[in-house]
């Protein structure tokens, strides 16, 4: 395997499962050292073990990305562990009540969804960018939006709002910091085989064939396929790519 992330210290949030876990494995394969964060510390420990099994370096950390103190602690811990932060994948997110119409979402779930998905990304960037600027050499940030950050999805309510917010926030960050060496992009996964999709299918009673038929490529995506895209965006190969919202969706938003 190629080693295009060698000597890169990278933070990944939402690393306990699905896309975060697959991206951790991909980045480790490419030579990165990792700090893996999630509020689910057991899942996070498991991802770390999988990375170590591959011969990679990973340290698990418990975090609540909606809490400023918790994020600040994560970033300083990551600096202690990695020496510097070259890349960050701000990926922690929840679906909220994504099988309900917007009139049926509960206020506390709406607030929690915005807190984790949008404020969480802002808090992570707030401290990551500071660190990347202060260490010199800059860095690359990838935030997880979604196809729901680009188009409306029935039932998506607060989730769609939060993911559109992530796209806007990322563009603003890119405009503010790209000339100082910090690139910022979002990845917009389509329907990917993750625990989140399983929950949505369970809650709605829909069959996965519903999603397959709506996806031009004719299948669901694999978490590793998002990991491939994120690892590339985090690397120097994407040195001119900033401020973009990259769909990795089998053609859904086309």
């Amino acid at each position: 395997m190629s080693d295009f992330l060698e000597n890169h210290g990278i933070i990944i949030t939402g690393a306990a499962s699905g896309i975060g876990r697959a991206t951790a494995l991909r980045c480790a394969e490419a030579g990165a050292s990792l700090v893996l964060a999630d509020r689910d510390i057991e899942g996070c420990n498991e991802t770390s073990q999988l990375v170590q099994k591959l011969g990679g370096q990973a340290e698990p950390v418990e975090v609540d990305v909606a809490n400023a103190d918790s994020v600040q602690t994560l970033i300083s811990h990551a600096v202690d562990t990695l020496g510097k932060i070259d890349g960050a994948f701000n990926n922690a997110g929840i679906e909220g009540q994504s099988t309900r119409r917007i009139t049926d979402w509960d206020e506390d779930v709406f607030d929690l969804t915005m807190g984790i998905n949008l404020k969480g990304v802002w808090l992570c960037m707030k401290y990551e960018v500071d660190q990347m600027l202060s260490q010199g050499g800059g860095g690359s940030i990838v935030n997880t939006a979604s196809i729901a950050g680009l188009v409306g999805l029935k039932g998506g309510g607060g989730y769609t709002a939060s993911k559109h917010g992530v796209v806007g926030l990322s563009k603003t960050a890119a405009l503010e910091f790209s000339s100082k060496g910090v690139r910022v992009n979002t990845v917009c996964p389509g329907t990917i085989e993750t625990p989140m999709i399983d929950r949505l299918l369970d809650d709605s009673g829909a069959e996965s064939s519903f999603f397959v038929e709506k996806t031009p490529i004719g299948r669901l995506g694999k978490p590793q396929e998002i990991g491939d895209a994120v690892a590339w965006l985090l690397s120097d190969k994407a040195s001119l790519v900033t401020g973009i919202a990259l769909p990795v969706d089998g053609g859904w938003v086309a």
Binding site: M1, S2, D3, F4, K171, A174, L175, S178, S179, R183, G190, P216, I217, G218, G221, K222, E225, I226, D228, A229, W232, K237, A238, S239, L240, V241, T242, G243, I244, L246, P247, V248, D249, G250, G251, W252, V253, A254
Partner: protein, 253 residues
């Protein structure tokens, strides 16, 4: 380094200079066998020389991509020379006139659309059946940041590049299920001869135009090559129908 395009046969149009040449070199580094095409025979022979010098393999055909028969022949000969076609970078393009919309000549407008839009369509028309026979593939078309936003003085060019984005999405929606991914790359201001001409036209000091680039510099052709090589590779296996800006943040504004 692992190679991402090993055993892939890739056709590149507009390979005689700029983005096409830089992409040829990156694809070759990643292990691809190349068919290089351009209307400019000297330029494309020079690209071939550079590829061979770097240890790669390349064939050359001189082609006008707006000519249906020439494109049909180009694709057929790619298949016969390289044993199939797994990737294509449809990159041949011209800028047309550099003047206000009402001053564009009809001749320049027609030619810009013929090369930039019809050329991409013709290439895909023949590449898609050839790729189906080769077991699937990946197509990347060159659009532009001007395929996503308007640019003063570039009426026909902007129209053509917006059309490339549309055509790319239709191709993706139609063929992704059959194993052919189709994407567009949207370069921003890249350090090429075309940029110098644009800067001349807008008569703005270089610093002013640089100030409009969020990344604070112009891009290099090699950076487009890296993006195209990624889109052509299996590392982007779930990416299709995308118009991907590689523009230092220009269209995020």
């Amino acid at each position: 380094m692992g190679k991402n395009l090993e055993n892939k046969s890739i056709l590149i149009t507009g390979a005689g200079s700029g983005l096409g040449r830089a992409t040829a070199l990156v694809c070759s580094r990643e292990g691809a066998s190349l068919m290089l095409s351009d209307i400019d025979s000297e330029g494309v022979e020079e690209t071939k020389r550079l590829v061979l010098q770097a240890g790669g393999a390349a064939e050359v055909r001189v082609t006008d991509v707006s000519n249906r028969e020439m494109v049909e022949t180009l694709v057929a000969e790619t298949v016969s020379e390289l044993g199939g076609v797994h990737g294509a970078f449809n990159n041949a393009g011209i800028e047309g006139d550099l003047t206000g919309l009402s001053r564009w000549s009809e001749k320049a407008f027609d030619k810009t659309l013929a090369v930039n839009v019809k050329g991409v369509w013709l290439c895909m028309k023949y590449q898609i059946p050839a790729m189906l026979q080769s077991g699937g593939g990946s197509i990347v078309n060159t659009a532009s940041a001007a395929g996503l936003v308007g640019v003063r003085g570039c009426a026909g060019y902007v129209a053509s590049k917006h059309a490339v984005v549309g055509l790319t999405k239709v191709a993706a929606v139609e063929w992704s299920k059959r194993g052919i991914r189709v994407n567009a790359v949207c370069p921003g201001m890249i350090d090429t001869p075309m940029l110098d001409r644009l800067l001349d036209y807008v008569k703005a000091p270089k610093e002013t135009v640089l100030g409009q680039q969020p990344i604070g510099r112009f891009g290099s052709a090699n950076e487009i090559g890296e993006s195209v090589a990624w889109l052509l590779s299996e590392d982007s296996s779930f990416v299709t129908g995308v118009a991907m800006p590689v523009d230092g943040g220009f269209v995020a504004q």
